[in-house]
Structure formats: structure tokens, C-alpha cells
Subunit: 259 residues, 2 copies
């Protein structure tokens, strides 16, 4: 299925006419990660994101009990407009659901975080291929030796995503993604996985490995899995996230996030 | 007095060897506004700032009870390193003090917000005069008809500062300040005070009026007084801020806040 814009895609998702992955569903509209937390964790988490904007770029926040992302999709409902949600209790995944209406409470705070789909579109538009899309896999992600800046109870290593880029396109790749600071921005490292404490590129901690061809270098970006990993480390009694690949589609256009 | 850097200036301020205004005290080092709030207001206030980044650009946050601004001045103590603080109870200014050690509690959350001194330095460096500095006055500030985006209990009109700029320098002024998004960024309006609901430039709501000369246009920027005005409207039982002109001097250089 393909929709004209974020609003149309969300309408179909709300009616559960679409319950699968969202990439390509409303081309050019910004997709976002969802994290829903009990209010007592929200201040620490928000400070964590403010201190670590590269892995945790906040696009929108709903106050306790509120479910309208007023900056990015003022007609949307965070409880119904994502195809698939994951529910965690005490850090353990307990169920996947198509809406969270029955799980909702006045105590919940919702965060929408930017995602690398936005800069991948910009790279594709510039003719720079995205290997995991070409190979129809999930992007490879690795836990690094870079510590995030802690905030309250939240701390842990940064997770990065990796995309192989031909040597002669690395500078252009850096320049393009640097223009999207609200969706991870410029790479945090180019070239040497060991500098990040990554021993074997073929064994990612999350996602799937992709082919690194002759003449290509691995390029690493701060990854939106970082905040999820940091939260799960704390094992809060209750957390809701989107299911992998099933994102929230906003009314913002990817191009509008460019500087 | 003039100091080599933020650390030296703060050391003198901590010992109360300097208890006055900070502009020019450590040239080139970023100065910041301070807001200290009870924890129960902190999440709403932080969401308010995230939704209104032009008037409320957050540079650093200390978690409840913490007094070290770890991003901007990791050796500093927010309780002693500002020359003069203002203490408000139920929205009323009750005292001015040189440190807040006796007022401190585990429940307090501190926010450092960017201030226009940073872009004024950049304008001066480019040879663009700052009228209120030339006339040795406080910058004129006006309450506008632009509503901020509310968050929780916080809402209210945006406050702007105004600087007269010669017509032929307006474009350059916009370009320079646009490169400082973390300290108010580009102007929000150029030319017509009435568009902002300002009836009389000679009667600012805060600060002092300055001369608008022939061939100059009034240029308006989102102002860091906005968050203070919004907080005072709520009349929290307890708030601490810096005293006007007596800012927190960070270890960051103004030039480093440029894009």
C-alpha cells in the first residue's frame, strides 16, 4: 500500500487496514520512533535525550495522559496510529498489539524520536545506495565502547548503525547527513570498527549483517535503538514502544528536517 | 574586572569578589540564564522549552538535587557561581542573594538557557553595532501577540527583544543570527511592530527604549525573558533565577555555538 501523506496512512493504520512495516508507506513523510513511559521516568529520560541528542533526537512529546503529538501530527492519536506496538513489563516483552487504547492511563508520557529513514531518503535522492535496503535486510546495529552522558537513572553505551559507503562518496555522505541534526546528523565514525569497540562487523548486536564490498568503508551513525537499550537496562515496570519497522508517520516532510 | 575564561570568572564570583553584572567579564565565553524550579514543575517546563526552542533554548539541565552543569561547566556549582540570584515565592520577588546554598534542596531542578549576548558578540564581530550597548541601556523587550505553544501548566505570549539595524545590514544580520539556533537564532520579525501587537516602540514592557535612527528598521528576536514570564504567570511556590544581567558564565565559547 502507498498513501498520499501521513494523515491518509495513519487513517488506514487506525482502522487496522494496515498492520505491517511502514517504510515507503507515505513517501517523503517523516517517520518516528515511539517510547511511552510512566511519568516518574519522564524527566530523567527527557534530560537524557537532551544530553545525547545524536542518538536521541526528540521530535515531539505528549505530556502525561496526552496522546496528541501537537508539533508533528496534531490530528493524530498516538494510541491507535501505529501499526504494531510492543509492550514491556519489568523490561520483558510481554505482547505485541495493534493499538494501546486498553493500556492507556493518565500517567503515561509519550516521546517521538527521529529515525534514520529521513537521512536515508536524502542519501537515496543523491544517488547513494543504502545497502540494507538493496539487500532487503534490517540495518546492522552495534553496541559501542562510547558511553552516553548519563541522566538520573538512565545510562549505557551508545548503539550505532552501519552503512557501507564507497570511498569516493564518503565526504558527500557526511555532508548530506550533517544537514539532518534532528535525525542523528553526521556519522560519529568512519572506517575503523575497532575504534568503537566493534570486533566483528558480520555479527551485529541488533538487525542483520550486510555486504561490505571492495572499495567501500563502513560508516557509523548514532542509532535510535540507544534510548530503547538504555530504558530496557533500567527495566521500568511498564514501557510501550513501536514494533521494529512499524513507525509513527508524521505530517512533517523529511525535506523540512534539512537545515 | 576581566577574566581569562569562564572558570576564572566563576572562581571570583564564588568567593563573592565579583557580585555585579557579567557582560564582558570573560570575553567570548557563553553566558546563560538560570531557572531553578521544584521537581514537580520540571517536566512540563522542559516540554515547554522543547516546543518553544526559539525563546527557550536549553543549554544544560541539572537533575533534581544536582548542581553541576555537566555539559557546559562540569567544574561549576550552580548554587554559588552566579553573582546575584533572585528568589521568588508564590510569584513574588522576595529577596536577592549572592548564593543559594541555604535555599538548596534535593527537590530542585536547574535549567541553563541560552542568551542573546552570544549572537550580539557575533554581530559586533561583523561590525554591526548593538544600539542598547552603544547607549548603555538594557535591551528593550516587548510582550507580543504571538502565543507560545503551551505545555502542561505553562503558557503565555512570546516576549521579543528589539535591536535597530540599518536597512542595508538587515540581510547580513539575519544570516549571522540564523547561525546561532541555540541562542534564539534568526529574528522572528523584521520591520513592523504592529504585526507583533506592539503599539509603541518607545514603551517596552521590560528593559529600556533605545533610539531608532533614520534609515534603520526594528528587528525582533525571540527573548529569553519568555520562559521567566511564563513561569511567573503560574506563580510556583518557589523559583530561583539569576538577577538581570548577572548571568552564569559557562566554559563554552560563543563561537562554538555557531553552526
Amino acid at each position: 500500500m502507498v498513501f498520499k501523506n501521513g494523515e491518509e496512512a495513519r487513517a488506514a493504520i487506525r482502522l487496522e487496514k494496515w498492520t505491517g512495516p511502514t517504510p515507503g508507506l507515505a513517501y517523503g513523510y517523516t517517520q518516528a520512533n515511539l517510547v511511552v513511559l510512566p511519568a516518574k521516568y519522564a524527566l530523567d529520560f527527557l534530560i537524557f535525550c537532551q544530553r545525547n541528542p545524536k542518538p536521541c533526537p526528540i521530535l515531539d512529546i505528549c505530556e502525561p495522559g496526552k496522546f496528541t503529538p501537537i508539533l508533528t501530527a496534531p490530528m493524530a492519536d498516538i494510541r491507535t496510529d501505529i501499526p504494531k506496538y510492543r509492550v514491556y513489563r519489568d523490561g520483558i516483552l510481554v505482547e505485541e498489539v495493534n493499538n494501546i487504547l486498553n493500556l492507556w492511563s493518565e500517567d503515561l508520557v509519550s516521546f517521538l524520536l527521529g529515525c534514520s529513514f529521513t537521512f536515508e531518503k536524502a542519501l537515496s535522492d543523491a544517488g547513494i545506495g543504502i545497502r540494507h535496503i538493496e539487500e532487503d535486510r534490517n540495518v546492522p546495529m552495534y553496541i559501542t565502547n562510547i558511553e552516553t552522558i548519563p541522566a538520573g537513572i538512565f545510562k549505557g553505551p551508545m548503539v550505532v548503525s552501519m552503512r557501507p559507503i564507497p570511498k569516493h562518496l564518503v565526504e558527500q555522505t557526511i555532508a548530506i547527513t550533517a544537514r539532518f541534526p534532528r535525525v542523528h546528523g553526521a556519522p560519529i565514525h568512519v572506517g575503523d570498527p575497532e575504534k568503537l569497540g566493534i570486533r566483528d562487523l558480520s555479527k551485529p548486536d541488533f538487525g542483520e549483517s550486510v555486504t561490505l564490498k571492495e572499495g567501500e568503508v563502513p560508516v557509523f551513525w548514532a542509532c535510535g535503538v540507544t534510548p530503547q537499550a538504555v530504558i530496557m537496562h533500567v527495566k521500568p515496570e511498564f514501557v510501550i514502544t513501536h514494533a521494529p519497522g512499524c513507525m509513527f508517520i508524521t505530517d512533517i516532510k523529511d525535506d523540512d528536517l534539512e537545515l
